[in-house]
């Protein structure tokens, strides 16, 4: 093996690849099964954006908390939520991560530091401030990470949180996953400032913009601001410029996108493809190692779907439980 020129060990490189591939295959499979009518409700797919979730989450431990978005599958997988439980949840089964009561938009696992995907855009930012506040009181070096899209970056809850985190000097990182579209509305039109770095500095926060399809760019920038936050230097904003391979939700005809746009993105800005090429080219891992991971991931997803389909539905008893701890 050649010398490793990357800031991650070989094991971590393979782990990051496995995470990204798992997210991709999870979403590609949902795309297919949703079209067949197997899945109730709505799903918002993260395919194309994997480098952001995995590049950031590679730095986190279970006592670091994240507050996710409606497009949360990738964050869940990268934060260590069980893929089979996630799939069962999306199928509305009793064995799901939330016992079938949450669905795609509310998958959570507090034991993994995953505070929930969220159907209310921007609502996770104050929650991440709370996670940062709790870590600060405990003094355990934990951080809170708030994910929003470019759309929710206009929400009052998000903007207020930037200020609160700065005023309280919280260990919180605000990640703007800018995929260019708030549902169907262009970021060019809907976000009035030219740059998220400017928006952050307006709140007294350092900000940095990276190519969100470049795993290594995300990894290095996130590593630096997470390290600062752990050391007490306060919050920061990270903008990941990324691409969305699917529509806002499944069933979105995407007529607002340019002709050939998605095909072009898939051909030229696929974060997993570029990651693998770079690692192979540097001689740190072989193509066969990646294809072996691909096969294992496909088996895992197939197993997750099969077990989700076979799992029992929640029953009438489940309807009324877990509203309160005691009542």
């Amino acid at each position: 093996m050649a010398d490793n020129p990357f800031p991650l060990s070989r094991e971590d490189l393979l782990k990051a690849y496995r995470t990204m591939r798992t997210i991709r295959e999870f979403e590609e499979r949902l795309h297919v099964d949703f079209a067949k009518g197997d899945i109730p409700g709505f799903v918002h797919l993260y395919a194309g954006e994997e480098a952001s979730a995995s590049g950031i989450m590679m730095h986190l431990k279970d006592n670091d908390r994240i507050a996710s978005t409606h497009r949360g599958h990738g964050h869940c997988i990268a934060k260590g939520v069980d893929v089979r439980e996630m799939m069962a949840e999306i199928y509305g089964k009793a064995t799901g991560a939330c016992r079938g009561k949450g669905g795609s938009m509310h998958i959570a696992d507090l034991s993994k530091g995953m505070m929930g995907a969220n159907g209310i855009l921007g609502a996770g930012a104050p929650l991440a401030c709370g996670a940062g506040l709790a870590a600060k009181f405990r003094g355990d070096g934990g951080v809170g990470i708030s994910f929003v899209g470019d759309g929710a970056s206009n929400q009052g809850m998000f903007l207020e949180s930037l200020n609160l985190a700065a005023v309280w000097n919280l260990p919180v990182i605000f990640v703007v996953e800018n995929n260019g579209y708030a549902e169907s509305t262009s970021v060019e039109w809907a976000v009035a400032c030219d740059s998220y770095v400017d928006r952050a500095s307006g709140f007294g926060l350092p900000g940095v913009t990276v190519d969100g399809t470049d795993f290594f760019a995300v990894y290095e920038a996130a590593g630096e601001i997470i390290r600062r936050a752990r050391e007490g230097a306060g919050p920061a904003l990270l903008e990941c410029e990324m691409v969305r391979f699917f529509g806002h939700f499944e069933g979105d005809a995407q007529s607002y996108r340019a002709k050939g746009e998605v095909e072009n993105l898939r051909a030229n800005r696929d974060c997993i493809k570029s990651f693998a090429e770079r690692v192979i080219e540097a001689g740190v891992a072989k193509r066969e190692e990646f294809t072996a991971i691909d096969r294992e991931v496909l088996d895992l997803i197939e197993d997750a779907v099969r077990s989700a389909k076979a799992a029992p539905l929640p029953t009438a008893q489940d309807l009324l439980t877990d509203v309160y701890v005691s009542y």
């Binding site: 939330c98 696992d109 505070m115 506040l133 709790a134 009181f137 009542y327």
Partner: protein
């Protein structure tokens, strides 16, 4: 040992004792310290009406002033609760819920259920409620029904200092999100309060006056108006029973039903607006579950279906009065089965 202290001091004492007892209890809100970053006193206000005055000196950084930014800090309190803290967030006036309601009803209230039972959110949101302060339409509302409607929230509204201390202590120790409603016109009201910590369980109403002729159900300031009415009625040989609900979610239906079983007459008093209120809720519940016990239709005494007016002349008309409650009791006695019968104390 019990001393006579005000509801304001009882609330302060409950927070102080719980902060001593449990290091995860923290308190945040606008001006709860009062003066952070200002050139004068750091601990100038202790809350806009001084309820948390002195706690900063005792507990330091565990009391946090916030920017005027309710969504952010109420949400942060909720997030911290989901991460193992027991935060108390002060929402200065319940009227301000409009700017942070999502964090309360879509986040805190739903975590437990939506996440399949895996999350606890032990947060207390302390908030001032009620009219009579000449504070006009946006600082005077009784919005308890809106919170009571939401599954996952508990709603508390004490009527006196003793209950305030016991219920707030329970709220802080409780593992569910609690909306703790403090009537601003009761802060100065005094009652006997033990110096040590104690809890009052949720869902246990208090029969504050016994009577056999009619049941008056109330909470918060309206308990005192109901007692005024009961005093006036006693002079007419009508003995009204007064029930203080104390907590609205959960609610003590058994005590209400038992009382109506004895009196056959129900008057529900609510400082909230008449539609979809605690008053309609209680009247409907009794109608559905104890119809046979009712000798007449339930009467409701509520604020009108208007915003809270400013002019003292109008605000005094807006707030349900003891006279209006007594009149409602007389109406129910004059209708239905045994109407007009003289129901003298025997």
């Amino acid at each position: 040992m019990a001393r006579k202290i005000s509801m304001k001091d009882a609330i302060n004492e409950a927070i102080d004792l719980e902060m001593r007892r449990d290091p995860t209890v923290i308190l945040m809100g606008e001006d709860v310290v009062g003066g952070t970053g200002s050139p004068g006193e750091a601990d100038a206000w202790g809350g806009v009406l001084g309820v948390t005055k002195g706690l900063y000196a005792k507990h330091g950084k565990r009391l946090m002033d916030t920017p005027l930014s309710e969504s952010a800090y109420v949400g942060a309190a909720i997030g911290a609760a989901a991460c193992g803290m027991r935060p108390i967030a002060e929402l200065m006036f319940i009227d301000f819920m409009g700017v942070c309601f999502d964090e309360i009803f879509n986040q805190a209230a739903k975590f437990k259920y939506m996440f399949g039972g895996k999350a606890n959110t032990p947060v207390v949101i302390r908030t001032m409620v009620g009219a009579g302060f000449r504070a006009a339409a946006q600082h005077s509302q009784m919005l308890t029904p809106i919170f009571t409607h939401i599954p996952g929230l508990k709603v508390v509204c004490p009527s006196n200092a003793y209950d305030a201390k016991g219920l707030l202590t329970q709220s802080i120790r409780d593992d569910d999100p609690v909306i703790f409603c403090e009537h601003k016109n009761l802060y100065a009201h005094e009652s006997d309060v033990p110096a040590e910590a104690y809890t009052i369980p949720f869902g246990e109403a208090n029969v504050v006056r016994e009577g056999k002729d009619a049941t008056i159900v109330a909470y918060g300031l309206m308990v005192h108006k109901a007692l005024e009415a009961a005093d006036a009625l006693a002079k007419e040989k009508v003995e009204a029973e007064v029930i203080d609900l104390r907590t609205l979610s959960p609610i003590d239906w058994d005590t209400v039903i038992e009382s109506v079983g004895n009196t056959g007459r129900l008057v529900v008093v609510d400082e909230a607006h008449p539609r979809c209120s605690i008053a309609t809720d209680v009247a409907a519940y009794v109608g559905q579950n104890a119809f046979g016990a009712l000798r007449a239709g339930a009467q409701m005494v509520t604020a009108p279906h208007t915003p809270v007016p400013f002019s003292p002349a109008l605000e005094d008309l807006y707030i349900p009065s003891g006279g209006a409650i007594a009149a409602a009791v007389r109406r129910t006695l004059a209708s239905g089965q045994g109407a007009g019968a003289q129901r003298k104390a025997s």
